[in-house]
Structures are given as structure tokens and as C-alpha cells.
């Protein structure tokens, strides 16, 4: 078996286009995961049982079922009840909601890591609950979980090939489409793998910087 360098080089432009689409879905999905995950984490600490329990059930349910099944559900089942979304919106929401269940656990760990004394000091100063959250607890909880949240950015990006099942033309879809024409899967998959590796490293770099900075601060 020989490696066709020419074919590999020619595969780069379409794969890069696929990568851009994958990054778009991943970026939107990640923002959803960050915001919704925080919402889940706060809701699971609510004093109101009618908030806490359904959110807890939803988070466990989503986390315990495969992303692929969730993507199928969003793409094929929702339209039957009148909710029609574009493939990109479906993919981004699917990734975002799925990863929100993980980021909510990260936020939870960060919030639990804020010493009880901070809550008590806020109470001793009669700070409102919302002020306590926004000015005391979250500013302390979030920085310490930034590295863990960053790791989920990489994991989420690496799950973008699953979007191929809902017709999004991301990298794996391009591999399949081009490979069906020229059968040079070795070159296509190799280039795709390299693109995933480089992108994941580029996402990981700022995460590592933040991790080191946080370690220095707490040292």
C-alpha cells in the first residue's frame, strides 16, 4: 500500500471547509453548554423541589443516553410535533444540551468548593441571595473550574463527527463524500485525523495556560 501525497493534498480544502462547519457547530454548542450547564447547576441547588427534581431527572436522563440517539431524536422526531430546525441548529443544540449535563457537574464541583464561610459571611452582611451568587460564590467558583470546562470544549469538538448522521457537512461527512468518489480513504482519514489533532491542540493550548495560571494563584 502506498500513500498518495497528491490525493492527500487535494483533500485538504474540502476537509478544511468541513472543519469550519464542525467548528461552527462546536462553538455554538459550547456556548449553549456553558450557559445551560450553569442554569442546570443552579436549578439543582434550588430550594424549590419542583425546580430541583425535574432538572435533576433531565440531566441524568440526557447524560445516561447516547449523543447519537439524542441527535436522531432532535432531527427526526421533533419535526413530527411541529418543531423544525435546520441541521446546524439541531446539531449545535444537541451538542450543547448533551454537554450542558457535564458542565453542570463541573459548575457544581466549583460551587461546592467555595467554603461554607463565604456563604455565612454573605449572610452575616445580609447580602441577598442573588447578590451572594453573582458577587461572592460564582466569581470564586468559576475560575477554579475553567480548566475542566476547557477540557469539555475539546471533548465536544471531538464529538462533532457524530453530526454526520443529521446531514451536517462536517469533516467526517466530507471524508465519506469524497471517499465515495476516489476511494482514497487512507489519505482522507489521515488528513482528517491530522486536522482534528491540530485543532484539538489549538483548543487545548489556552486551556493549559489557564490551568497553569490557576495553579500558580492557588499555590
Amino acid at each position: 500500500m502506498t500513500f498518495d501525497w497528491q490525493a492527500a493534498w487535494e483533500a485538504v480544502p474540502p476537509l478544511l471547509r468541513g472543519l469550519v462547519i464542525a467548528l461552527q457547530a462546536a462553538a455554538i454548542g459550547y456556548v449553549i453548554a456553558l450557559v445551560l450547564g450553569l442554569g442546570f447547576a443552579l436549578s439543582r441547588r434550588s430550594h424549590q423541589r419542583w425546580v430541583r427534581l425535574p432538572v435533576g431527572f433531565f440531566v441524568e436522563f440526557v447524560r445516561s443516553t447516547p449523543l447519537l440517539v439524542q441527535l436522531f431524536f432532535l432531527f427526526f422526531v421533533l419535526p413530527t410535533v411541529g418543531i423544525e430546525l435546520s441541521a446546524m441548529a439541531t446539531g449545535a443544540i444537541g451538542l450543547g444540551v448533551h454537554y450542558a449535563t457535564y458542565t453542570s457537574e463541573v459548575y457544581r464541583a466549583g460551587i461546592d468548593g467555595v467554603p461554607t464561610g463565604q456563604w455565612e459571611a454573605a449572610k452575616a452582611l445580609s447580602l441577598s441571595r442573588s447578590r451572594t451568587w453573582t458577587r461572592v460564590v460564582l466569581p470564586q467558583a468559576v475560575p477554579r473550574v475553567v480548566p475542566a470546562l476547557g477540557n469539555y470544549a475539546i471533548a465536544l469538538f471531538k464529538d462533532t463527527p457524530q453530526l454526520t448522521v443529521i446531514t451536517i457537512a462536517e469533516v467526517l461527512s466530507v471524508v465519506k463524500a469524497v471517499g465515495a468518489q476516489n476511494f482514497q480513504y487512507l489519505e482522507l482519514i489521515t488528513v482528517a485525523g491530522l486536522l482534528y489533532l491540530i485543532t484539538a491542540l489549538l483548543i487545548a493550548w489556552p486551556v493549559r495556560v489557564l490551568e497553569h495560571r490557576y495553579r500558580r494563584e492557588v499555590a
Binding site: 467554603p115 464561610g117 463565604q118 455565612e120 459571611a121 449572610k123 452575616a124 452582611l125 445580609s126 447580602l127 441577598s128 441571595r129 447578590r131 458577587r135 461572592v136 466569581p139 470564586q140
Partner: protein
Amino acid sequence: MTTELITFDRVDKRFADTVVLDDLSFTVRAGERVTLIGPSGSGKTTILRMLMTLTRPDSGTITLAGEPLFHERRGDTLVAAGERHLRTMRRHTTMVFQQYNLFPNMRVLRNVTEAPVHVLGLEKEEAEERARGLLDMVGLAGKLDAYPSQLSGGQQQRVAIARALAMRPDVLLLDEVTSALDPELAAEVLDVLRDVARTFDVTMLCVTHAMKFARDVSDRVLMFNEGRIIESAPPDELFDAPKQERTRQFLRSVIDES
């Protein structure tokens, strides 16, 4: 005429099988400085935590400024207090903790102005002026822009005292505020508290093992043992001529330690 600001009426508290407060009743007058002494686990800190609404009693009634603390009136009946009532009642009181509990994400000045601005509704400039005055009083006028992590334990505790006073509380609760400090830093903090006792018209409840400080600032000392007050007297009387053997024993052990 002096009025009773704080009343504990037959208050009980247990943690699992341990009785922490046992049918406890006592009162504190407005402006009075009361020191709570006694062995660990005798319920002193629990009293402060109850007044700060951090811990609820199992039974009994606590009254603060004429209002029940953990109950509120609905028509003619008293019901368990909701968060709104507790928040209103908390305004009377602030607490300085053993571990300082400054907000590490805020600079010193903001630690002191945060609650006056957002709880008392002061203008930022007014709150900052008040904070500067208090931080000057505790000897930290030059540390306004420092973060708590850049301060020593004694400095942090002095900021915590300024932060508490900025709320102009009726009641200041001091929970072993020097226990985490070495003797030199503890002395600085106690000097500041002596100033506070002289300068501010505030009711003080203080849990401490610093007996000289207790003697200097207190109007009355309460000796606790197993969740009950076993002796209550002005400091000179209690320290010089304790009536109870348990008090004598406790004072001997504290003097031996120091």
C-alpha cells in the same frame, strides 16, 4: 432606662445525640458588652450562630429588638419565619468569624463597601467614605486596593471588623476572632476591638479565650458548661471570685494555656 435587646427563652439545640443548648434562657441589654466563656462544645458559638440566623433552635424563642427571630406573626399566631423575615432581622446583626471569611475575589475597599451599597442602599461615594474611615481606624488605610490574600491573618481580621462595623449593626457578634492568630497579631486585633468597644454604641457578644480582653471590655461574663449558663457576673467578680467550681477549673486551665 435600659432595654432588653436580646432574649433567649428556653432555647434547646441538639446536634444528633449531643445536647448543645439545654433549656437556655438569658437576656442582653442594648449597648451591653457580654463575653461568653466556657469549654469547647459548651454552646457559645451556637448562640452567636443563632443570632446570625445561621443555625435554628430546635425549640424555644429568641427575641431580637422586640421581634421573634425565628418566628413571624401571621394574624394572631406565630409561625416559623420565612426567608424575608430572617433577612429583615439579620440587618440588626453582623458577625466577625474566626476564619475572617473575607471575599477573596474583592479588594479590601470593596469587601467593606459591598454590603453598605447593596444592602443599606448607600451611594458608592458615601460607602467608600465610611469604609475609608473604618479602615483607617483599624490601621489599614494603606491597604484599600489589596486583595485579602495579600494581607496577614491579623490584617484580614481587622478588615473583617471594619466590614462588620460598616453595616452599623445594633449587635456585633465576635466568634473567637483571635483564635486563628499568633499572639502578636491577636494583640493587634484585640486592641482594635478595645477601640471599637470605646467608640461604638453597639451591643457586643463575644466568644473568646482572651481573658484579659474579656475583663477589659465586658460588662458581664457568662460561663457556659454543657449548654447551660452556670455563672453570670461582671468580669471582676467572675474572674476574681468565681462561685462555681467548674468556673474556677476552667479559668485555671485557660490561664495555664496562656
